[in-house]
């Protein structure tokens, strides 16, 4: 059993180790501070933080309703929330184009009413990242709301607190550790997003070229050093997040 587990662990560890082994440690700093890399890193940070904010703003009410309010079709909505998790991100990008593109169902109205077009803009990149990252937050938050003790909320209500006050001052604080875990997971997923972003938001340096897109394009031009340097950053973030949160997240599910 231990030997089989070792094979399994090696399957994950080997690619990670290979990346670290091929890293151009000597030129790492220069690779990471090159103008294109700096721009991509800054944009990745901005987009992923906005995407996380959007995922929380839209996901928190959704998670609460899914956990607390029985309604017909709840199973269907629960399944829908999972779709971005299992959909190939490129397909998600195409779906976003058909919905929010210039000729999309909702995108057409955005264009006509507000002259807003999302593809090829930073806002588009944020939207694509939020689409893919939101399930991580909703799942975690919903599980927290389902398992938290309702008696505290009932006590607050009997003491005269309004529903909104109960939500802000009892429900959310009780679920805070799980909510934070969901935020961090969603953020990590947004940071690594590639397929939906390049399909929906295109690739425009300074506007939508986040680190994963930059890595892909650098691979085309053949320079392995900068590719590995930027990949290491994403890898370090992913490993840090998962080491901190794995047990909590699996527990919440």
């Amino acid at each position: 059993m231990v030997a089989a587990a070792a094979v399994g662990a090696a399957f994950f560890a080997l690619p990670v180790a290979a990346l670290a082994w091929r890293a151009p440690w000597g030129s790492l700093w220069a690779d990471l501070t090159a103008p294109a890399a700096r721009t991509a890193l800054r944009l990745s940070l901005e987009c992923s933080l906005w995407a996380t904010a959007l995922a929380v703003a839209l996901g928190l009410p959704l998670a609460w309703v899914l956990a607390r309010v029985p309604f017909p079709g709840r199973r269907l909505v629960r399944a829908l929330v999972l779709v971005p998790l299992v959909l190939p991100p490129v397909v998600g990008g195409v779906a976003l184009l058909l919905a929010f593109g210039r000729h999309g169902v909702a995108g057409r109205l955005l264009d006509q009413w507000f002259s807003v077009t999302l593809p090829f803009t930073t806002a588009g990149a944020v939207l694509a990242e939020a689409f893919v990252a939101m399930p991580f937050f909703v799942l975690t938050a919903e599980a927290a709301f389902v398992t938290s003790d309702r008696r505290y909320e009932e006590a607050a209500r009997t003491l005269g607190a309004r529903r909104s006050a109960v939500f802000r001052r009892v429900t959310v604080p009780l679920a805070r550790p799980a909510l934070l875990a969901g935020v961090v997971l969603a953020w990590a997923r947004a940071l690594g997003e590639f397929g939906a972003t390049i399909t929906f938001a295109g690739n425009s340096p300074g506007r939508t070229t986040t680190v994963p897109l930059q890595v892909y394009l650098l691979l085309e031009s053949g320079g392995l050093g900068p590719v590995v340097a930027l990949s290491l950053i994403l890898l370090a973030v992913a490993v840090a997040v998962l080491v901190l949160l794995r047990d909590r997240w699996i527990g919440a599910l």
């Binding site: 593109g101 090829f120 295109g202 031009s221 053949g222």
Partner: protein, 250 residues
């Protein structure tokens, strides 16, 4: 139990190894398909030529790997099993030859840039200069891939500085952005305009001498050397020429 599972895991790994190497060992020097690595823009004419090839050489299958030229050269470098390499520009082929992965490249066709627009050209875009007009959403290939380098050369020769909304990773992604209506125009190959059919219209680019030369070569490590030679001969033949011209190549 422990030993049994370990043995099982080892057997699984060994099976995976032979499964992946299956085509390699079973292919040998006689059987197995001819493996052709070709630039994505060659998809339509090469598939048509495969039917001709199979009628001329019954029993020899043809398997394609269509991808960006740079990706093909990279996987060949990493030991991919290929008999023929056909790239969308000479620079990429030169890197494969310099690395010792392919030998004796011959230019077999040329492809010129063209502007892809919505069907019927509603924005009345007449040439490269119009693509720099404010309000025109322009999609180009990234400069790292051959179609992006070609577009940059075309704009240089026309003395136009474009402001692209997006730099797509390959030419088919540019086509998709125009066909979906997200971009008003894209610079692609003339063969892509032909392949897009009724879903888009094409506008010729007046940039004399701006074209990509497509070289083809037999891979150094080819396992089906004779069949690879025959494939190259077919591509260079009159029938090959016809298939390529029908697809919009020069």
């Amino acid at each position: 139990m422990r030993r049994l599972l370990a043995a099982g895991a080892a057997a699984l790994l060994a099976a995976a190894g032979t499964a992946c190497g299956g085509s390699r060992s079973a292919g040998g020097s006689t059987g197995g398909p001819l493996v052709v690595f070709a630039a994505a823009s060659l998809t339509e004419p090469f598939q048509a030529l495969a039917r001709t090839f199979q009628s001329q050489h019954p029993g020899v299958g043809v398997r394609f790997n269509f991808a960006a030229s740079s990706a093909l050269a990279r996987s060949l470098r990493e030991g991919a099993d290929a008999d023929v390499l056909a790239t969308a520009d000479e620079a990429t082929m030169a890197t494969a030859v310099a690395a010792g992965d392919a030998r004796g490249p011959v230019v077999f066709v040329r492809n010129r840039p063209a502007i892809l627009v919505a069907p019927g050209n509603p924005e009345h875009l007449a040439g490269l200069a119009d693509l720099a007009r404010p309000g025109v959403v322009l999609a180009l290939c990234a400069p790292e891939v051959p179609c992006g380098a070609l577009a940059a050369a075309a704009f240089r020769s026309a003395g136009v500085t474009p402001a692209p909304a997006t730099l797509e990773p390959d030419v088919k992604a540019v086509v998709a952005k125009v066909v979906l209506g997200e971009a008003d125009a894209g610079v692609v190959y003339r063969s892509d305009v032909r392949a897009a059919g009724a879903k888009a219209s094409g506008v010729d680019v007046d940039a004399p001498g701006v074209e990509n030369a497509y070289p083809i070569a037999v891979a150094t490590a080819a396992r089906h050397r004779a069949a690879a030679r025959q494939w190259v001969d077919l591509v260079l033949s009159a029938a090959g020429r016809r298939a390529l011209v029908a697809a919009g190549f020069q």
